[in-house]
Symmetry: C2
Subunit: 320 residues, 2 copies
């Protein structure tokens, strides 16, 4: 009898509910969307938005450390540059976006945050296939600061694998437009996990090293730094390394970096807004030099975090 | 006084609202998400989902015409193939997904529908950077049938421009995994609009013709059909053209199609689940042959729509 009842219940025709009941949980944070400040659980995008269906969106991520934004001006410059290249418009200028970002962080209460501003193409009410009929949508959010490398990895260095996946070339997607086209990087990451590594580097279309999921890579040889020049994310942390090298009298160049050059380096590190400067001490299961975090890496890491107190590079969040 | 009041009002610190009030409107339809059937206005994805932030998702789109799914088995096969390649799992097998798709269409009431099934990597509650910690999310929806070409364009043929944007190569993103990496296609579309065309074709990395936003392209020369072979969407409509050619004794080949070959063709058409087979009669402002929809294109179009009544290729939606 109960079996029959269950079967009948399963056969009950479905109904359309009014409202989605979301069973998932989200990190603590505050988002801005359609003029409202909202908890992260409410920060959602329509499945019909071109930003999702066609990854037709641009963004930028800035971090807050010790209650201060780091190099927000550079992130805003890059974000507005991407909007222009994608012919998107938002109803805010730089001051307007700055105010929204401050509010997201202040309302979240986070003293260390990962803060993203983004714009999607949007959608038209008719689901038109003409992107010019879509209404562009701006969103921002602040969540707790996250790092590519955890505390242990920062101390002993990351274990990285080089995948044979090829980073989407600039002739297809201009990397100067910050974009969400990451399947190559995600698949590279799975390649790395398969080989027991913690993260991945993937190649450019010439077979040189390009970048990893959300980070640039540097190598040090005979005291000179080098980092891939083409087809890579124009990282603000990467740029900060060049600035620090200039101040410290260290040689640094953007150039081709072969897989061999990376393997033979004295030191290797990666750079990202999500974590700053992070040492790499193992590549494809083989130690980089003696397998310890090198002196130049350590020095640049220290200088990088010192910069966070410099008013020329950072600004206090307007907490209430 | 009122000016002062306004200024004070503007300075009022923002508050975090409980719930998003969505000012946008959406097409009529029904979505499935987290076990619920919902109106399209509720079909949303978290901004923190890897499916949005990293375009880490796969999907398939099938259409319903005259109340019948067309070649649903092929779309399901391709979708489940993509899931496997991306190492995603969903709590439904093919029968389960089939039932959900039927329910979405039946509940929407649409007799002609564009029906999408998709899976995103999801997100972890901690916003971890490890995709293995994300909970994959399946979603489906049915909205009114849409076409790349409107009624007038189907009658007189589309005006297409060839952009110099290069389709993301297979070494970066495997096109056999249906994916949302479309910025190259979107930018090609804007190039086309700039030149007064209605849609775009973009190139492969060898400079041959690849595809357009959501469609494959065929050309006809001396009675023989050809379509690009590499780095393109493995379209079900494209496959159906090959099937029809086999049945009709027409020669069809997947091969390199140069820009010159396309310009010198007797006939050109595009194929997509969104519209079927659609004639192209103008390329970069120059007529294809005599600028009229050609006889082979017309014949394949007619055969394509006839197939929609064939029980071997279509199945009745389970309307209540």
């Amino acid at each position: 009898m109960s079996h029959t009842a269950t079967t009948q219940d399963e056969k009950r025709p479905p109904v359309v509910d009014d409202r989605h009941v979301d069973p998932h949980s989200y990190p603590e944070g505050v988002a801005f969307l359609d003029g409202q400040y909202l908890p992260m659980s409410q920060a959602k995008i329509s499945v019909l938005d071109w930003g999702f269906l066609h990854s037709d969106a641009t963004y930028d991520t800035v971090h807050v450390w010790n209650g201060r934004f780091f190099r927000l001006d550079l992130h805003l410059e890059r974000f507005f540059g991407g909007l222009e290249k994608l012919r998107m418009t938002i109803p805010f200028d730089r001051d307007g976006v700055t105010e929204i970002l401050h509010n997201c962080v202040a309302l979240s209460g986070h003293r260390a945050a990962y803060v993203e501003m983004l714009c999607t193409r949007g959608a038209s009410p008719t689901f038109s296939r003409d992107p010019r009929q879509a209404v562009n949508r701006f969103m921002a959010f602040a969540v707790p600061f996250g790092s590519v490398a955890n505390a242990e990895q920062l101390r002993r260095g990351l274990r990285v694998a080089i995948s044979d996946k090829v980073r989407i070339p600039p002739a297809s997607i201009d990397p100067a437009i910050m974009n969400y086209h990451w399947l190559d990087l995600v698949r590279g990451l799975y390649d790395a996990y398969d080989r027991g590594a913690e993260t991945a580097l993937i190649l450019d279309f010439n077979g040189n090293v390009a970048e990893g999921p959300g980070f640039n890579v540097f190598c040090v040889r005979d005291g000179k730094l080098s980092t891939p020049s083409i087809g890579v994310l124009p990282g603000i942390t990467r740029r900060t390394v060049f600035d620090l090298c200039g101040e410290e009298g260290l040689a640094a160049a953007a150039t081709d970096v072969s897989v061999a050059a990376l393997r033979e380096a004295d030191e290797v590190f990666i750079t990202s807004t999500a974590g700053g400067i992070m040492p790499v001490t193992e590549i494809d299961g083989i130690q980089v030099a003696d397998g310890k975090v090198g002196p130049i890496t350590s020095r640049v890491m220290a200088l990088y975090w010192q910069k966070h107190d410099d008013p020329a590079c950072s600004s206090q969040v307007n907490y209430p």
